[in-house]
């Protein structure tokens, strides 16, 4: 078991954003979390990271309880987050951005990790000395993913990686997600509004509504489920 959330509640001030979440991620899985705007998807991601801290329930990562651990400590235990909206460091160069991903990693691996990321995203190698802010949205997303991979995480969290990207890049990003899992054995928790594509690449999925998990199943099951089809795949939001 890579990650287990048991009855997790979280609050943003007075807003009760998560109401008893149970989510499991097994080693080597892609698990997706779909839901409408404001359903609590990003809150769930951030509460994994201890910001905000879970007000009730337990989060176990890799056999250790991380519910009360500091945000920066959680990253060091092997969870890497690709935040919503990419959040690259715009005025720093591509290579500096990648380097920031290794803030807590062993410097001995640096050269090998850079080479690995460059092999995965050749465009980043081409642009390595360019300011990250000058990259296109899709390239920035690749940089954000590359930066997260630099720390050799055990679990990769992707928060809306397809947000605001051109269709060609959306396809590419989902392809990358698949490759990371298949070729590198990366365990991935993927939060998406783009339910169709997300469920296609995922082994399992959860549907989040108003801070609660309303449906769970394999990617194929959810794709076929009438509720999901009605709410997220056909005719937009129900």
């Amino acid at each position: 078991m890579m990650l287990k959330m048991e009855g997790v509640h979280a609050h943003y001030g007075h807003i009760h954003a998560l109401r008893g979440i149970d989510v499991e991620v097994q080693v080597g899985e892609i698990v997706t979390l779909i839901g409408a705007n404001g359903a609590g998807k990003s809150t769930l991601m951030m509460s994994l990271f201890g910001n905000p801290k879970a007000s009730a329930g337990r989060i176990v990562f890799d056999g250790e309880d991380i519910t009360r651990v500091h945000t920066h400590e959680i990253a060091r235990r092997g969870i890497a987050l690709v935040p919503e909206g990419r959040r690259i460091f715009p005025r720093m160069t591509v290579i500096e951005n990648l380097q920031m991903g290794t803030a807590h990693a062993d410097p001995a691996n640096y050269a090998a990790d850079t080479a690995r990321v460059f092999a995965m995203f050749p465009i980043l190698q081409e642009r390595q000395s360019q300011r990250a802010g000058t990259l296109s949205g899709g390239e920035q997303q690749m940089l954000a993913i590359g930066r997260a991979l630099m720390s050799r995480p055990k679990l990769l969290l992707l928060d809306e990686p397809s947000l605001g990207l051109a269709p060609i890049y959306i396809r590419r990003i989902f392809q990358i997600v698949k490759e990371l899992n298949r070729d590198h054995g990366m365990t991935i928790l993927l939060v998406e509004q783009n339910a169709n594509q997300a469920l296609r690449v995922a082994h399992r999925g959860y549907v989040l509504q108003h801070g609660e998990i309303t449906l769970a199943g394999t990617g194929a099951e959810l794709l076929a489920s009438p509720e999901v089809r009605a709410a997220y795949l056909e005719g937009g939001h129900a």
Binding site: R87, Q128, R147
Partner: protein, 442 residues
């Protein structure tokens, strides 16, 4: 006001006329009360007199000035476009070229600053002004850590300058500490204050941070004014001992059991010796600051500061402890400000809360912003400009501050990112070129 066009393209003559017309209209509205009407003494009573001739002249001047300004801006833009079209250089090449220019400029500035007191060895004014420039350079470099690198807007930086200055003043006058003994202690004191300020504002950013730091600067000043037993209040502290040259004094006659600088080296006594010594002292302190900050920038802590400036949430996601990053930036920035304060107190021989007003903070911040946030060389240029403009402006008496303001506005119009907005990457290509080359070979 929408008629005042901030066009990206060059304007047609008609557009320019309309634009100038609007600006002149605004000038007219403002000018009626400001210029058009004046009060006169009519037999003991106050009467109003109109000055429409003068008003017309002012409005005409505004119209012509705006027309000329627009024309000049368009000309400059066209020339730049032509140049961009003509050059095939890539952005990376240009950045590299800019970096080379900055490096050359840096060496020239260093050479000039070393030679300056030799060339002007009998010009007290020049050496004094240059010393002031260097104090501001050092303050700018210190604040650059907080504002330029870590991106934390600090409007109360002068507080640390004051802490350093008062620490030295009190340690030396009350306990007889020498400059060199007091320097590290005062720096540590300022750093402690930096952390003290840092803690309550960890969660703040932007405007809120600016307001709290502004308040902090004022609190320190007001304490210095009111706590008379401690700081001697508004009267300040006088007869602060001057630094000595390895135990040699710069006075005319040697103190008991000591020797004077002039006496030891068999020179004739001159008050300039001390000034030149102080100049070189601040030059060395400033250069040490520069070396220190440049080195930090290339270390993980410096990169973390820059990452924090760019995006705090991303920093947390990377597993960085943002609390420590912020506190270290505040502490180191404050320490450098404290060192500058020690020097300031030692040079002046007298300090009072007057020297540590908000205006000082604003000027130091202006140096960092005008120089180009995070640029070390930019700070040097901006500090030189901001100290020298009011000096040159002395001939213009009351228009001096107007000139100062105008210069600042012009710099920001001409270079919105600051004088030197180019940011030097901390990772050089060659190291990675090698990494990728070996990969290809494999």
């Amino acid at each position: 006001m929408s008629a005042v066009v901030f066009a990206r393209h060059a304007m047609t003559p008609a557009e320019r006329l309309r634009d100038a017309g609007w600006v002149a209209f605004v000038g007219l509205i403002l000018g009626i009360p400001l210029v058009g009407l004046t009060t006169v003494d009519v037999g003991g009573r106050l009467g109003v007199e109109t000055r429409f001739g003068l008003l017309a002249a002012a409005v005409a001047a505004v119209f012509a000035g705006r027309l000329l300004l627009r024309w000049a801006i368009d000309q400059a833009r066209n020339r730049k476009q032509d140049r961009d079209r003509a050059s095939t250089a890539t952005a990376a090449d240009r950045a590299h070229g800019a970096q080379r220019v900055v490096n050359v400029l840096g060496w020239v500035a260093l050479g000039a600053s070393i030679a300056l007191p030799i060339v002007f060895s009998d010009n007290r004014y020049v050496v004094d002004t240059a010393t002031t420039v260097l104090i501001y350079v050092m303050l700018g470099w210190g604040l650059n850590v907080v504002v330029g690198l870590a991106g934390l807007l600090d409007l109360g930086y002068v507080a640390f300058y004051a802490v350093g200055a008062y620490s030295y003043a009190l340690l030396s006058t009350q306990f007889g500490w020498s400059f060199w003994e007091a320097l590290p202690v005062s720096g540590a004191m300022a750093a402690t204050f930096g952390i003290l300020l840092g803690y309550p504002i960890l969660r703040l950013r932007g405007d809120y941070l600016a307001i709290v730091t502004l308040g902090f600067g004022e609190i320190v000043r007001i304490i210095l004014v009111n706590w008379t037993e401690f700081s001697n209040g508004p009267n300040g502290i006088s007869s602060i001992p001057r630094p000595s040259f390895f135990g040699l004094d710069f006075s005319r006659s040697a103190p008991e059991g000591g020797q004077t600088f002039a006496g030891f080296f068999g020179l004739e006594f001159s008050p300039m010796h001390r000034l030149i010594f102080l100049y070189y002292l601040i030059l060395v302190l400033a250069l040490l600051t520069h070396a220190f900050v440049s080195r930090l920038r290339k270390l993980p802590v410096g990169r973390a500061w820059e990452a924090l400036r760019e995006d705090e949430i991303a920093c947390q996601a990377m597993g960085m402890n943002t609390t420590n990053i912020k506190l270290s930036a505040f502490a180191i920035g404050a320490m450098l400000g404290g060192f500058a304060g020690v020097f300031f107190a030692a040079r002046q021989g007298f300090i009072s809360p007057e020297s540590f007003t908000f205006t000082e903070s604003a000027i130091i911040l202006a140096i960092v912003v005008l120089g180009g946030m995070g640029s070390q060389m930019g700070v040097v240029l901006a500090a030189t400009l901001l100290v020298l403009i009011p000096e040159f402006g002395r001939n213009f008496a009351e228009y001096r501050m107007l000139l100062f303001g105008l210069a600042m506005v012009l710099i920001m119009v001409w270079r919105p990112g600051g004088l030197l907005s180019h940011r030097e990457p901390t990772v050089r290509l060659n190291a990675l070129g090698k990494a990728s080359a070996t990969k290809e070979a494999a």
